[in-house]
Structures are given as C-alpha cells and as structure tokens.
Amino acid sequence: MDLTVSSVSHRYGTVEVLRDISLDIPGGRILCIVGPSGCGKSTLLRMIGGLEMPSSGTVLHRGAPPEGCLNPLTFVFQDFALLPWRSVEGNISLALEDHPLSRAQKAELISDVLTRTKLSEFRAAWPRQLSGGMKQRVAIARALAVNPAVMLMDEPLSALDAQTRELLMDDLVTLWTRAPFTAVYVTHNLAEAVRLGHRIVVLSRRPGMIREIVEIDMPLEARCDGDPVLEAHKARLWKLMRDQAAAADMELQHG
C-alpha cells in the first residue's frame, strides 16, 4: 500500500505549523522525516495516521492493505503508550480484541510477535518491570501483531539511552530485512535517519516545508555505525539543519 501526502498545510490558531507538504510514501521502504524541534514533523505523522486533521490538503492511500492486515496505519509512540494495568501479553492482545479472531488465532499471533521481538520470556511481566528498551520492544510487537500496511513511528527511540537505541536499531533492521515493511519514521536524530531511512525528508523550521529529499541506496543490512558514506550523508544533513535548529531553539513554544 502506498501513501500520498498532497499539499498538506496546518495551523494551530495563528501559528502556521506546516506549509504545502507533498510527499510520496512508497511501499516496502522506510521513509524518515527529520527536522528541527517544533517543525511539525510529529503533527505530519499524526495526519498521515488519521489522528489529526490538516487545515488543508489531503492524505491518500492507494492499493489494498496486505492479506491479514488488521490495522493498516499503525503507530509506535515515543513514550511507548503501554497500558500499565496489562501484562506484556495483555498489551499486545488489546490491539487484537476488537477483531473477530478466535482465541487460538490470537494466541498464535501473540506468540509469533513475541518470538520475533525476542520477548517470549516476558509474556506475563508488567510494564513497570521492564526497562525502556523492553517497553518499546513490546510496543513494536503490538504494532507487528496487527500486520500493518504502514508503521508510523514517532521518535520511537528518543526516550532511550544511546546503547539501547543502538541495539533496537539493529533489531529494527533485522525485522525489516526478514519481512520488509513500509514505515514513516520521524526522528530528530540524524544517526537513526541515515541508518534506517531509504529516503530522508528534511523539513525546515516552523512553518515546516520540505527542504530536501535525500535517497540512500545502500541496503539496510550493510549499513553500520561510522560508515564513511553514511557519515557524509549525516554531515550534509546536519549542514542543512544546523542554522535552522539553532534558530528553532531560540523560539518560544506555542501550544
């Protein structure tokens, strides 16, 4: 399933957040959106996922979602959004309960995603017992359980420490190489963008506009930290963003 964002603009009251964004999100690839803080990248993601209405413009999806897809547009949130009163298994089953699945089908789906995210031993654990990295693994498992057409990831690694982030990036790459999924990945971290993005969209500071779209052809599994090609991409992206990031930092927060 492909997504098209066509001339989306948005304002909160008098503050213009996004201006005329048009984007193609091709299936089977990871698209990263980077930009200085407050440039509206998370807002754009929520619009792509139907959690927010743009002031003007539309987001279209074309083609049918894959077989067995329960929730075509599925989010992974920065703060994990796990229900503290449900176990790991219960949190995953939450996403399945509103669908007509038999008990056995649900159990099979849950076991499958727990295995894929290496969480099988933690099936019965409470979220409070898990580290940040484990919590995000649970959230990723929950997203995988509904077999999404597009994963919408809103700074999924930003609440984690650098080492955990590195490990989870490897896990995401493994998951993707085993079964390529479509993803829109919002981040402010350029290292994540160049490691995971097939295509990187750079937004300007508020009002967010597309400044540049960078394609990285290197296959995900061949990328590693410190690779000269990736470092060059990263340096170039940082040059594009640097002044804007500094200026954005000085702005007052609106809402």
Partner: protein, 264 residues
C-alpha cells in the same frame, strides 16, 4: 596541609512515609488507657467522659442481649443500599462528565451547587418525597455519597493519560472498548480513593437519617442515649460507628491491593 577529610553530611532522609505496623493500635490503646486512668482517679469527671471500661461493659451487654444486631442490621442495610445507589449513580454521572463536553458544561455547576448543601437540612423534604420509612433514609445517604463520588470520578477520568487514549484510537479500537479498557482502569485509582471519602460521609449521614422515624439503628440508639444524657450508651454507639469506618476503609484498602496490583 594534612587534611584527613570529613564525611559528606547526609541530607537525603525523610519524605518517604513507609508502613509501620502496630502504631495505629498503640495510639488507640494509649488514649483509652489515659481516659480510663483519668476517670478512675477523678481527674476527669464522669460528666465529662464516661469510663472506657463502662462503655465496654455496655457494649458487651448490648451484644449479649442481642440488641446490638437489632440496631446494627437496619443501619447496615441503610448504609449498603443508600451508598450503593449514590456511588453507582455518582460513578456513572462522573464518567459521563469526564467523556462528554456538553454533559460536563451542564452538570458541573449543578454538582457544585449540590455539594455544599447540608443534606441533613433536606431530611424533612425527603420524608415527604420518599416516605418516613426506609425511602427517605436511602435517599439521604444516596445523595450524600453521590456528590463526592461524582467529583472524584470525573477528576480521575480527566487524569487518564491522553496518550493511552490516542494509542487506543490509533489501533482502531471502538469507543466502547476505549472506555472499558483504557478510561475505566485508568480512572480506577482515583475513583477508589474518592470512595473512602464518600463512604465516610455515608456513615455520618446514617445518624442523620435515623433522626426521624427510626425505631432501631445505631443512629437512633445514639440519639436516644444523647437525649437521656446516657454517656456510656452514647459512646458505645460512637465506638460502633468508628468500627464501621475502620471496616469500610480497610475494605477499600483490600480492594485497592486486589484491583491495583499493577501499580507497585
């Protein structure tokens, strides 16, 4: 020059209330012992305070004669029925206020107007509306527990983490599922702590409810003793009410440990 160094002074203590067993009981025992000693030595006159041992004897008598149960049974049934009506209506209305802007705008001022009314003042009116029998007593206790439950419930619903609700929507959960699986469990801690207040108010109103048209009941027992200035019986009744308060409070504590075991 040879400075051996001094240890850094520790200043991180306190502000961490823990669970200390037996102290609550010790405070009770100490106060009762003090009253017993005071009344025996004549330091406290028998008009000021009855002797605790006499109150105990009165209680034992009451229990032996079977009158304790005769008084307790109607009071308990009034409390249970009245509080069940008030609390279930309160939770229902509170959740509606928490979920719908229109209901919130319409009802919050009404609740604010109802809350400070001393419900006892309405008892004569309730007697006319609901009859002098059990009806008016249920109504008084129900109204008294209703308002604090509403306020606690909508506060608790307001405090449910919005990102969890967004998450539910992002997975395409139905409205009913979001309310049942996300809003209600998230509001439960706040609702339960509101129930402590509501039930205490219910016990207070029990005595008021039995002021009119009650032959038996802890409240009427206390009121009779009060009008005769029979301090032993008055205090015996008060002890029963206190015990009721401790019992409801520990019942809620038990419910919290059972239902909120995910918290710690």
């Amino acid at each position: 020059m040879a400075d051996a160094g001094r240890p850094v002074p520790f200043r991180g203590g306190g502000f961490r209330p823990g669970r200390v067993r037996g102290v609550g009981l010790a405070v009770f025992v100490l106060l009762i012992a003090l009253a017993e000693w005071g009344t025996r030595t004549g330091w406290i006159s028998s008009l000021t305070l009855p002797r605790p041992s006499d109150v105990g004897a009165t209680l034992l008598n009451l229990a032996h004669s079977g009158m304790l149960w005769t008084h307790l049974a109607p009071s308990l049934s009034r409390l249970v029925v009245g509080a069940a009506l008030g609390i279930s209506a309160g939770i229902g209305v509170g959740v509606l206020i928490g979920l719908f802007s229109l209901i919130r705008a319409g009802l919050i001022p009404l609740i604010a107007a109802l809350f400070p009314i001393p419900k006892i003042a309405l008892l004569p009116l309730f007697v006319i509306w609901f009859g002098i029998d059990e009806g008016s007593k249920y109504a008084l206790i129900a109204l008294g527990t209703f308002t604090p439950t509403v306020v606690a419930t909508y506060g608790a619903v307001d405090n449910v983490d919005r990102t969890l609700i967004r998450m539910g929507q992002s997975f395409g959960l139905s409205w009913a599922s979001i309310v049942r699986k996300i809003v209600m469990p998230g509001a439960l801690p706040g609702i339960l702590s509101g129930l402590r207040v509501s039930l205490a108010i219910g016990i207070i109103l029990l005595v008021a409810a039995e002021m009119l048209g009650a032959e038996y009941g802890i409240g009427s027992y206390i009121l009779q003793a009060g009008s005769l200035y029979d301090l032993e019986r008055l205090f015996a009744g008060v002890v029963i009410l206190s015990a009721l308060g401790v019992a409801t409070s520990s019942a809620i504590g038990w419910a919290e440990r059972r239902l909120l075991d995910w918290r710690s």
